[in-house]
Chain length 384, copies 2
């Protein structure tokens, strides 16, 4: 198949920022793209060959969209998998496959999968609904504190809560969930694995999520992680093990905890480009978006090494501001060498909404880290 | 003015590959774009907020397009300057200004400008038409060989011819032209200068055009140029002198000859992103396209330094092939580390038509140069 300047059509389910950055690569290669998203204001509304509005969880919508294209991929996991199953059974190409997505979409299934495949992960219990969890707590069968996770539809910290007493579960949704042992960890790490249709595999360097010392929120994604070589080797090996178990095509972002006794536990995975790989646009020889494209189109994978050190800062809406967004002091951070803002194209800001990110690259990691903090303290996502 | 995720509209005259690569940066910053081009198949047809079809040399078309936007820029010099004059006089922002464009659009005027501003350039004579040139040759007033250049509308070697005898001028168009002394040179060099509205100036490293030893065609654009430090310093200084003389806003690509006695002569300039700066997408901290945008929007200029050595190979249509394009062996070059093809999105190839380019980046210049030759010898732009 010839993809470049041809009639080949790539379909993308989801039109958010991940899709938008993926589209940039398809333009470079002149590949036709069809995007489906429920919102007419989606970041992908420009840059695609054709943009369609529709419900990603609706069988007919996804099935009909899939029939328009030659190959289907996703930028969000919450899509109708039955429609993808039908499309695949009719001979359409879908990457990642609905089989892989089914093993990931539900966090309970995901955790069971790790256990079955001898992949180290924190201890957990699955519950069909909140009432069942409550009765186990009442019977003293669950140790506090623990982490509650909604089995489905969680994103960016939604659907996750630390439970320290039974009162903490009161306002949670009565949905399928897991209770996970709270593991104290030294570092949160991630490895992105690219795997092509014909099985070529490449891993990006291990990255580190640096947390705010008080707010317990990820502040910086740092590549390469400032960790011991042996830990990096171990994290890379486990990521490859997870990748092989899922037999995915495209990217797989593997999030992990480095425990205090230097163990690695897999937290969760995403079978697509991931926030922890945004730094790669500026820092790597091949960005994660280009490698996702290469992998699903069965082109040779690009070099995942870094040219320079890279740090990513998320731009989220400031607390107390809702409405038409402005990026206060963006011109100040643009005056610093090696600083590149990426604005996702959402017109309205809300507290903690992901509105963009900023990448800092530098030959020197210490300097990159210093600049990242300066960026973080300078730019604010607010309203007029 | 707030450009990001706002109602601000940037207009771009011309929808070719330069516009397409500029659009990629506007998407990253979520800036609205309006593009005008005569062809409905232009590379910019996707990726702009709105794409308009119309004649760039028509006064009314350009004037009406300009009224729709907040700021106007170009990706091609051959646009109606009277319309831009009117727009500017009515208070619209146009960068580069029609005044600068008028000094560049006509090669005779451009050469006169160098002489007036003590900018070193090859000796030349201007002629209103071919007949006047012919009679000077017949009267023995012009030394052969010389370089004939059409005063207007030349591009990519069109409108340029080496004249070795009077017979060579027979098939030339009877248009305004110049006869330029043929200067033997050691190297063809270029420097891209970015200059913002408020006068901030940054230069990219000096690049070198390496010619095919027999075909006398540019094969590789190499950054940094493999030249003596003092020559690079001199070329940079002259480029800054040219930039200051033109008082341009945006990019100015200054093409120069390094003569055998280590002199520098300015050949010609382009007041926009330029083929000699394409390597910057992968190799530089800030690409030429991002810096053009920063300059015309009066944002701080980005770092023009390189992360790694960069070499650019143009992908032009192979001789003997016209029609629906295919890029033979593109998957072979994509298997090489640090190789990135850019396909412009032209469906039809013709001999020597610019269809794309390939960038090769590497920490080591010798290795980059070796890979560039491998790329050049592998990929072919042909038809099915």
């Amino acid at each position: 198949m010839n993809y470049f300047s041809s009639d080949f059509k790539l379909g993308i389910l989801g039109g958010g920022q991940l899709g938008k950055m993926l589209l940039a690569e398809t333009r470079k290669f002149d590949i036709q793209t069809y995007v489906l998203d429920p919102s007419m204001d989606a970041p992908c509304q420009f840059g695609a060959t054709h943009f369609f509005i529709g419900d990603l969880m609706d069988y007919d919508t996804v099935y009909e969209f899939g029939q328009k294209v030659d190959l289907l991929t996703i930028e969000i996991e919450n899509v109708n998998l039955d429609a993808l199953d039908t499309l695949e059974s009719e001979g359409f190409e879908v990457y990642p496959s609905p089989k892989t997505l089914r093993l990931i979409q539900n966090k309970g299934v995901q955790k069971d999968f790790y256990v079955e495949n001898q992949i180290p992960t924190a201890a957990f219990k699955r519950f069909n609904n909140l009432n069942k969890l409550r009765s186990e707590i009442e019977n003293g069968l669950i140790e506090m504190p623990f982490v509650w996770k909604s089995a489905q539809f969680g994103y960016d910290g939604n659907g996750v809560k630390i439970i320290r007493s039974i009162d903490d579960i009161e306002n949670l949704q009565n949905v399928e969930c897991i209770a996970e042992q709270m593991v104290p960890f030294k570092n949160e790490l991630a490895v992105i694995v690219a795997r092509s249709k014909s099985g070529e595999v490449k891993t990006y360097p291990v990255v580190e999520m640096e947390f705010h010392p008080e707010a317990n929120q990820v502040e910086y994604v740092i590549c390469p992680a400032r960790i011991d070589f042996n830990i990096a080797k171990k994290a890379n090996k486990i990521a490859l093990q997870v990748s092989e178990a899922y037999n995915h095509v495209g990217l797989l972002a593997v999030e992990m905890f480095q425990t205090h006794d230097e163990g690695i536990l897999v937290n969760e995975v995403a079978p697509r480009p991931h926030n922890s790989g945004h730094y790669s646009i500026e820092a790597s020889y091949t960005s994660q978006f280009e490698n996702h494209l290469r992998a699903i189109l069965d082109l040779p994978l690009g070099n995942t090494d870094s040219k320079v050190a890279g740090i990513m800062v998320n731009l989220v809406g400031a607390e107390g501001y809702s409405g038409k967004v402005i990026y206060q002091n963006i011109e100040k951070i643009m005056a610093i060498d090696g600083v590149t803002p990426h604005i996702y194209g959402k017109k309205e800001t809300r507290p903690f909404r992901k509105m963009g990110h900023v990448t800092i690259v530098n030959e020197n990691m210490t300097e990159a880290r210093r600049i990242a903090e300066e960026v973080k303290n300078t730019i604010r996502v607010i309203t007029k």
